[in-house]
Every structure is written in C-alpha cells, then in structure tokens.
C-alpha cells in the first residue's frame, strides 16, 4: 500500500516536473521571441515607432509594447523561473537529501541554459560581474553577517583569521606557482600566460565561497566549531581574495618589469589597508544602524528598511573607497545585530529576519541557476586538458595541505584541538563558487589572452566542488563520524549554569593570575555593557538583553501559548459550566473549606514556604474529571447558549483598515466600547434572569483578601508579559487594556467587567468555580502570569493561589462587607461611562 502510494507520488511528481518543464519551455520560446525582438527589432524599433506614430488614425485600445517593459520583465521572469526551479527541487525530499540543493540548482541551470541555447543558438543570458557583485552578493553576505553567532565567531577568531588570510594567500600562491611550474615543464602545451597572470588566476581560485559552503553545510549539520571555522573562513577569505585579486590585477596591468620591491611592499600594505579599512567601514555603518534604530519608534513600518539600505550603503561605500566591500558588509551585519534586535520592535525584528532570509535565499537560488546557465555557452569553452586537470588537482591538494598545516600550528595553541576528521571536513569543504566565477569574468581580455580558458576552468572547478564534493560531503561526514551539532533545547538551568561557569572560569583565571580568553571576554563584556549598550541601546531595551531573562521570557510565552492551545483543544468548555458541577463543587468546597483555611493560616506566616500545599489542586483535578465525564450534549448546548450570550462580536471587528503607517487590528476605541457595552447589556439580562442569593463560602472570601494583600507588593513589579489578567491593577482601564478580551472573548467572557459591576452571586460563584475547574493541573502548575507574581513553581508552593487570586478578587465587595475581615483595597472607581451599559 505504502509502496503504491510512493509510486503514485513519484508519478505525480514526474508529471508535475514535465508540466513545469514544458511550461518553462513554452516560456523559453517566449523569451526567445523576446530576445529576437530585442536582437532583430532593436534596429527596427525606432522606425517602427516612427511608423506607428505616423500611422495612428485613432486611439488603440490595446497595444503590445514589449520593448517598453522588456528589461524589468525579463528580470522578474528569471527570478520567477529560478524560484519555480527551487520549488520543484525542494518538493523532492528524497533527492535533496542525497544531492545538495545547490548542485540541483546548477543542474537546473544547465537545462535552462540548454533550452536557451537550442532556441537562440547563442547564450543571451549569463551572470555578469556587475549583477553578481552589486545585486546578488550583498544580501547573501549581509544575511550571513547578521545571523553570525557572534560569540562562537570571536572565540574562534584566531583560527578563522589564520585560515582566511594565510590559508588564502597560500592557496593563491601555491596554485599560481605550481601551474606556472607545470607550464615551464611543458605539461600544458602552448599557453600565453605569465607568472603574474598565473598568480592572478590563483588568487581568484583561492577563496572558499560562502554561498556554496552555507548551502552544503546547512544540510549536513556538523558541530558548531567546525561549522564556524569553515563558514567564518569562507566569509572572510572572500574579502581577502578580492583584495588579492585587485593587487595582482594591478601588478598585471603594471607589467612584469616595472615591479620592484617598493611596488610589492605597496601591494602588501594595500592588502592590509583594504581589508581593515573595509572592516572599519562596516563597523561604522553597523554602529550607525544601531544608533538610528534607537529613535525609529514612530516609524516602525519602515524601520527594517534601514538595516537593508544602510547595509547596502556600507557595501557601496567600501566599494567606492576601493576597500573590501564584502568584509564591510559582513562586519556591518555582525556589529549591528545585537543592538537592532534589542532596539527594534519585536515585529520589526521578525520582519528583518524574514526579509533577510528571503533576499539571501532568493539571490542564492538565482546565483546557482545562473552559474548553470552560464555554462552552456560555446564561446567560453576552451579546452586545455592539462591546465584544467592540473588546476583541479592543485586546488584540492593545496587546500588539504594548507588546512592541515595551519591547523597543526593552531592546535598547539588551542584548548580544544581540532581533530583529524574535522580537518578532513574542513579541507573537503573548500567549495569554490560564484565569487570565483564573478572574478574570472571580470578579467580583462586585453591583458590576459587566455581569459576564456580561465573562465572555463573556474566553471569546471566550481561544478566539480559544488556538485561532486557537495554530494559526497554528507556520506563523508557520516562515514568519518564527525561530531554533529547537538539539537539543544533552551533549558533555563543550562543557560544559568553556562553563565555560572563563565564567571567561574574568569575567576579561576584571575586567581591563577593569567590573562586568557576568559579574561579578555569578561573585560570586553564589561566595556560593552557599560559603554556600548549605553550609547547604542534604548534604555528600555537594555533590560531585555540578558540572555537568561530572554529564555525565561520565552519559556513564559511558550507556557502561555500551550495553555491557550490546551484551552482551544478542549473547546474552551472549561470556561463553561453546568449546574451540576456547581453543586458538586459547593459540596466539595464546603467539606474542604476547613483545610483551605488551615493552609492559608500557615501560608500567612511563611508566605513563600515551600512545604505547605493547598488541597485545591486535587479538588480541581477531580472537578475536572467530572466535567469531562459529564454528558457531552448537555455541555454543548450549554456552551452554545453561553457563547450566544456572551460572545458578542463587534460588526466591525474584522474590518481591515488600510493604513501604511500602522498595522493594528481593531484598536478603535469606539469599537471596543461597543463590544464592552453589548457584553454588559447581556450580562445585565442574565443578571435579572438568574436567581439571587447564594453567597460564596466565607472562607474563600477570606482567602481572597489575603491573596489581595499579598499580591499588592508583587503586583507592582515589572510585568512585561502583560497578560490580560493583570488588568485589575489599573482600575478603570479594565477592558481597554487588553486586546485579548476582544480578540478571543471565549477565553474570559466575564472576567474583566466584574470589577465594575455588582455581579450576581450566581455568576460570581460560577466564576470562582470556573477557574477552579478550568485550569487543568498542568496549567496551574505552568501557567505564568507575570514574571513577578507568577507561580511557576506551584507544586513546591501553593498552587492555586495565583489562579484563585485574580478570579476571587472579582467577587463584589458588597458581599464581603458583612465579613468582619480586613477590607480589601478600595474598589476601583467607576469609569465615567457607566451610563453606557445601564
């Protein structure tokens, strides 16, 4: 059966593929026509336009103006085609699990290129350096920089820099020199390439390409250190390789004889100036972004745009100053990530992340597809077996030698040495990619006679590394048993312990009197917290930056969400109760009341005492069971009735207003008020119809008061996770504070307005009951309120307190009047709009 399903799936998929391909074919024909239009009619276009204007006798209703939209149309169309290609490829999971996506995209590019070639007999589309370096590369690099795990990166910075700078230079020099040597030895026949040209070629081949590396390593999930070594290296050595390329390019155009020691020294100096200057430009722009996001509160919608625009500007600025643009944008992303994440609104941060990924992934796709398309071009294919094979061999061999040698040196200084298998993977992960191709295309044909051979060789190396090495990477990782990345959950204890032993390590270093990594890190952190954050972060954001707090916050959110989903899964019926359960509960609570009282007495003294437990959880559990067992139908009817009664939805609720500058749903005060009034009216009706007079058990009232008193000191402290229940702190803003009360009225149909209204005992009672019953035990344990007065640790303490407190508070004061206990805090003043609901 399963097999059959698979077969069917396959069939479907192939049909789909064929469909897509044929449609693409069709489109290709269109584009061919388009390009024909462009080629053949471009000369005629003037005439034809001329002719048009003279021929016009009336206003044409429809006119076909292809040339008018041609360029943007083609661009958009190619983007679409690449995306569709990706779509098809990603739909086949069993293929992508074997062959990396990048390789498949290149193959897809081959097919497309073939079709264009077949149609046009000439390759009209190819990746030009301008497009690549100006429009495709920046966002990929920015994304990489922005999502860089900073701590990991800086911990391994030494190793990364050694590999990126020395390794790249080594690769360039060794490849260039060996090829030159081979040519001298006569291994490649007659080629017009000098030593400098060879070095130039070596420098463009030297860089490991981040795009290819990320694409492959993302699917392999190797351990963190290995990943950051390969990834960081590939990012930085892109910068290095471009610099090297420029230096050698200058040398080549200068010509061999004119190069003396001074020029070489200048070249070396310019290498460092370009690299560090680029990084500096990036840092400056990063800081600029951070500063800017401090004050973008009022323009939240375009806030994310700043990051992209300024990031791009940093790239262009560096390019303008002939500094390393790639390094610039990498550092820009790395530098600003922390501050903008803290400064900007949560939504904007999400937007930035998604947009960044969308851009990067999109342009990555386009790059690979076009790498494939570029191959199908007769012009560039100049075959020279010796040159090509030797290049392939040297690239591979020297990469291995370089990595092993450098790691051997590094390992002497590393606390955790890189293992042998790691080194193998690092060497094998030396994928070449689009940067090399882009640089190769940029070569000047006048200065380098064999440009086409170089381009062709570069392409072959790229295909070889991306496709073959990419495919074999995963099996190799498996076979060598490389340590994989552990899938870690966010655990608060882990975070805390981590923090703890970071401090411990620093302390031990201090005690043993040495200056190590930890010492430096703690000093930096101190500086960062005291100065950088102070300048670059919003005051309100500084609070949130602590990671532990972050995890804590996330856990709270998760809990709240689970609670809500749990409620939804049960159809929110917990909030609905039938008569039976009330009676049951009353009996229960009466028998239990003594215990409650006792428990409370003891709690009064050791409010936080860990040992005392309240019997209520068990009660509520039982109640819960009973409700569950209750007749479903009756419940459903009841529910419907209640929903009808209470869940008034404003007519306007889902009206989407269009606004460019705001993105709120339903904040209109009038709407809120209307809902509020309607609900009130319904409430009043049910009030008159309900029977009166059942007082809630006295003991519970006492409980309430104690709760309230206890709660007050806590209640004031910071509550950022402003849950709807916290509304009772601000007296008359009750229903206006919480959008939750409107968006999901099912959840607390009658909680909020309680303060304002003399609630019938029936309702008050049931209210109390509802909360007792409603919260499952788990929810009671886990449900966070606000960080300050939440009771996450319920089993260790009194678990119902939190839930009881806010519901019981709602019991009208008049009923408490006769109890000779302490008065609760003064009832909230009535809002001025009382008249609205009478």
């Amino acid at each position: 059966m399963l097999r059959c399903g698979y077969a069917l799936f396959w069939l479907l998929e192939s049909v789909l593929l064929i469909c897509v391909v044929s449609s693409v074919k069709g489109e290709a024909v269109v584009t061919r026509e388009g390009s024909h239009l462009k080629l053949s009619e471009s000369s005629h276009s003037n005439e034809s336009q001329h002719g048009h204007s003279s021929n016009i006798t009336g206003i044409p209703i429809i006119s076909f103006k292809w040339h008018h939209v041609e360029t943007p149309y083609l661009v958009a169309f190619w983007v679409l085609v690449s995306f569709l290609g990706k779509l098809v490829i990603e739909a086949n999971h069993h293929v992508t699990s074997v062959i990396p996506e990048s390789a498949l995209l290149i193959c897809f590019g081959f097919i497309l290129g073939g079709m264009i070639w077949a149609a046009d007999k000439v390759q009209t589309f190819r990746l030009t350096p301008t497009v690549f370096f100006f429009y495709l590369l920046p966002q990929v690099i920015l994304d990489a920089g922005y999502h860089m795990p900073n701590k990991l990166f800086f911990t391994n910075l030494g190793g990364i820099l050694v590999h990126a700078v020395i390794g790249t230079c080594w690769n360039a020099a060794s490849l260039g020199l060996s090829l030159w040597g081979c040519q001298m030895g006569g291994a490649m026949g007659d080629l017009d390439i000098g030593l400098l040209q060879y070095l130039l070629f070596g420098s463009l081949m030297a860089a490991v390409d981040p795009v290819a590396v990320i694409a492959v390593f993302e699917q392999v999930h190797v351990n963190d250190v290995l990943f950051i070594m390969v990834f960081g290296e590939s990012l930085l050595n892109d910068g290095v390789t471009v610099v090297l390329f420029n230096v050698f390019d200058a040398f080549v155009s200068l010509g061999g004889p004119k190069i003396d020691a001074a020029e070489i020294i200048k070249g070396i100096v310019s290498f460092f100036v370009v690299a560090f200057g680029g990084s500096l430009v990036g840092l400056v722009f990063g800081l600029l972004i951070s500063l800017l996001t401090r004050c973008t509160k009022n323009i939240q919608i375009i806030e994310p745009g700043f990051i992209f625009v300024l990031g791009y500007l940093s790239y262009l600025t560096a390019e303008m100053l002939s500094l390393s643009a790639i390094l610039s944008i990498v550092f820009c992303g790395m530098c600003c990530q922390k501050y903008i994440n803290a400064n900007m609104d949560e939504n904007s941060v999400q937007t930035v992340r998604y947009a960044m990924k969308a851009f990067a992934n999109g342009s990555e796709t386009i790059i690979f597809v076009f790498l494939g398309i570029s191959a199908i071009d007769k012009v560039i294919w100049v075959w020279n077996t010796g040159f090509i094979l030797l290049t392939l061999l040297f690239v591979l061999v020297y990469r291995f030698i370089g990595v092993f040698f450098l790691t051997w040196i590094l390992n002497r200084y590393r606390l955790v040495p890189l293992e042998f298998v790691d080194q193998v993977i690092m060497s094998y992960g030396g994928l070449r990619g689009a940067v090399a191709y882009g640089l190769a295309v940029m070569l000047d044909e006048n200065k380098i006679k064999e440009k086409n051979l170089m381009v062709c060789t570069t392409l072959i190396v790229v295909y070889f590394t991306v496709i073959l090495q990419g495919i074999t990477m995963k099996p190799l990782v498996m076979w060598l048993k490389v340590k994989r990345a552990a899938v870690t959950e966010v655990s608060l204890l882990e975070k805390l312990t981590n923090k703890m032993f970071n401090h411990t390590l620093v302390a031990i270093e201090d005690i043993s009197g040495q200056i190590g990594h930890n010492y430096m890190r703690s000093k930096w952190k101190y500086f960062e917290e005291n100065w950088m954050s102070w300048i670059l972060m919003k005051p309100s954001a500084r609070k949130k930056q602590d990671q532990v707090f972050d995890v804590f916050h996330q856990l709270n959110l998760k809990d709240a969400m689970e609670y809500v989903t749990e409620g939804e899964r049960r159809g929110s019926l917990e909030f609905v109760r039938n008569e039976n359960s009330i009676i049951d509960f009353k009996k229960k609570s009466e028998s239990e009341s003594f215990d409650i009282n006792n428990a409370n007495m003891s709690n009064d003294h050791g409010a936080m005492s860990t040992t005392s437990r309240d019997p209520i959880p068990s009660v509520s559990l039982e109640m819960h069971e009973q409700i569950m067992k209750a007749v479903r139908e009756a419940e459903a009817i009841n529910a419907h009735h209640l929903l009808d009664q209470h869940l008034y939805k404003s007519r306007k609720q889902h009206r989407h207003r269009f606004s460019r500058s705001h993105f709120d749903i339903n904040r209109d005060e009038k709407e809120v008020q209307e809902i509020f009034q309607r609900t009130m009216r319904n409430r009043m009706k049910s009030f008159t119809s309900a029977k009166m007079g059942v007082k809630p058990p006295k003991t519970i009232v006492k409980h309430t008061q104690k709760e309230q008193q206890q709660k007050m000191p806590n209640g004031k402290s910071m509550d950022k996770a402003k849950t709807s229940y916290s509304g009772d702190e601000g007296p008359n803003s009750v229903s206006f504070v919480h959008p939750a009360g409107i968006e999901n009225p099912a959840f607390m149909p009658d909680l909020d307005p309680m303060d304002l209204l003399q609630i019938p005992p029936w309702l008050g009672e049931s209210e109390l009951d509802s909360s007792m019953v409603a919260l499952s035990h788990r929810a009671q344990v886990d449900l966070p309120r606000t960080p300050s007065n939440l009771r996450r640790l319920a089993p260790l303490r009194i678990s119902t307190r939190s839930t009881a407190s806010f519901t019981l508070e709602n019991i009208p004061d008049t009923q408490q009047m006769d109890s000779d206990q302490l008065q609760p805090p003064p009832p909230p003043p009535r809002p001025p709009r009382d008249d609205g609901y009478v």
Binding site: L415, V416, M500, D510, D546, T610, T611, S618, R792, L796
Partner: protein
C-alpha cells in the same frame, strides 16, 4: 629563599598529586602556579580567604563568594571529606585548580567520563552549600540571585522566579509524571548531570595554565 627550597623539596610530591588527577602539566607550569600562590599568600605557606578576596580582578565577579568558598571546601580535595578549611596550602590549591585542567586529546573515553564527572561535581558543590547531596530551591535561589545581581536590569524578584522556573524545569524533566501532591525536593547530582549533558563540560570547563602572565610572575619573583 626558604619557600623556593621548600618548593623544590616538594616538587616530586606536587607532580605526584597532579599525576594522580591526570593533570598533565609540566614542571614549568607547576612552578608558575607556585609563584602565583606565593604572591597571593604573601610568602606564606598557607593561603586564607582574605588573601583571595583581596584579588582586585575578582571584584566584578558576581559569584566571587561561591568560588572562594569552593577553594576552601574539603569536598573539592578529592578526598571523601566534608567541611571547610580555614587555610589551604599549595597542594590543596593545586587540587582545586586541577578541576580546570583540559582533557588530554589522548584520553580514553573512560578518563573523559571521570573528568567530566569531577568537573560537574565541582560545579554541583558550588550550589550545594550544606552538602546534603541535593540542591534545594533555597540554595539554588541564592546562587541565581547572586549570579544575576550584577546585571542591574534584573531585580531580585525576577531572579527568584527565574530560579523557580529553572527548578521547575528540572523537576518536570526528571519527574515527568508528578502527582499533584508530589514534592520535588531539589536537584540531585544525577539530575544535574542529566540536565547538563548537552554542555561539553570536559572541553569548556578548562583553562590553559600554560601562558602565564609574565607581569604577575615577575611580581611574584620580586616579592619572594
């Protein structure tokens, strides 16, 4: 120069100590540590709490107290002894330091496990102040409060609830089906180990004692 002689006399013993705990260090390293020890103790044979508290670099450390206590804790001396010392000699100092040794790349799996356990135990002992084998909520809260006290943004109240949350997390992972009346007393060492198995303790909790700060070393020599 008495101390140096004393040091030379005992060198074999020290090397023995560190060999016992797989503490692969050279004589040079021990010498460095010894000099530092002397510098801290002001040329005495023993070092006291005050000596450690005087280290200026430690002032910014939120858990300074715990760490200093750990040095004087008998549990960290690889003997099954309980209690705390008033002063420690160089041997004990070395013993505590040995918790932070890096693992040899040639170490077998077994050795790695032992080392990991030792490191974890050290950390656990820092939490478990009353040595009952359990980190109770109160103990944990104290540590967390102090840990977070430095970052001014987090108030004691929040730190407390963070500790609570962490504790609850441990409870819910280790005792998944807790009955409503159950009571989680605290984190035992096994639970601690279980929770932290994701962290590569053996590689992360180690310090290189090789590259000594020459400045302080010179100071040490001057004072001797």
């Amino acid at each position: 120069m008495y101390n140096y002689k004393h040091y030379c006399k005992n060198l074999h013993k020290y090397i023995h100590i560190v060999d016992v705990c797989f503490f692969t260090v050279s004589q040079e390293q021990i010498k460095n540590l010894y000099q530092r020890f002397q510098q801290l103790s002001g040329n005495h044979e023993k070092i006291s709490r005050d000596d450690l508290e005087r280290i200026p670099a430690l002032n910014n450390n939120p858990i300074r107290k715990q760490i200093i206590t750990a040095f004087f804790d008998k549990r960290n001396q690889h003997q099954n002894d309980v209690g705390s010392l008033d002063e420690i000699g160089f041997e004990q100092f070395l013993m505590v330091m040995s918790h932070f040794r890096p693992v040899n790349s040639t170490a077998t799996e077994e050795e790695k496990v032992t080392v990991r356990k030792q490191k974890l135990r050290f950390l656990f002992n820092m939490h478990d102040t009353d040595n009952d084998g359990i980190i109770t909520l109160d103990e944990y809260r104290t540590v967390v409060e102090e840990l977070l006290s430095q970052s001014g943004a987090i108030e004691t109240e929040v730190a407390r609830s963070i500790a609570d949350a962490a504790m609850l997390e441990v409870a819910s992972t280790n005792v998944p089906h807790m009955a409503p009346d159950d009571f989680y007393e605290g984190i035992t060492f096994e639970h601690f180990e279980q929770i932290l198995k994701g962290i590569e303790m053996e590689s992360r909790m180690s310090i290189r004692f090789l590259d000594m700060n020459t400045a302080t070393m010179r100071c040490g020599k001057l004072s001797s």
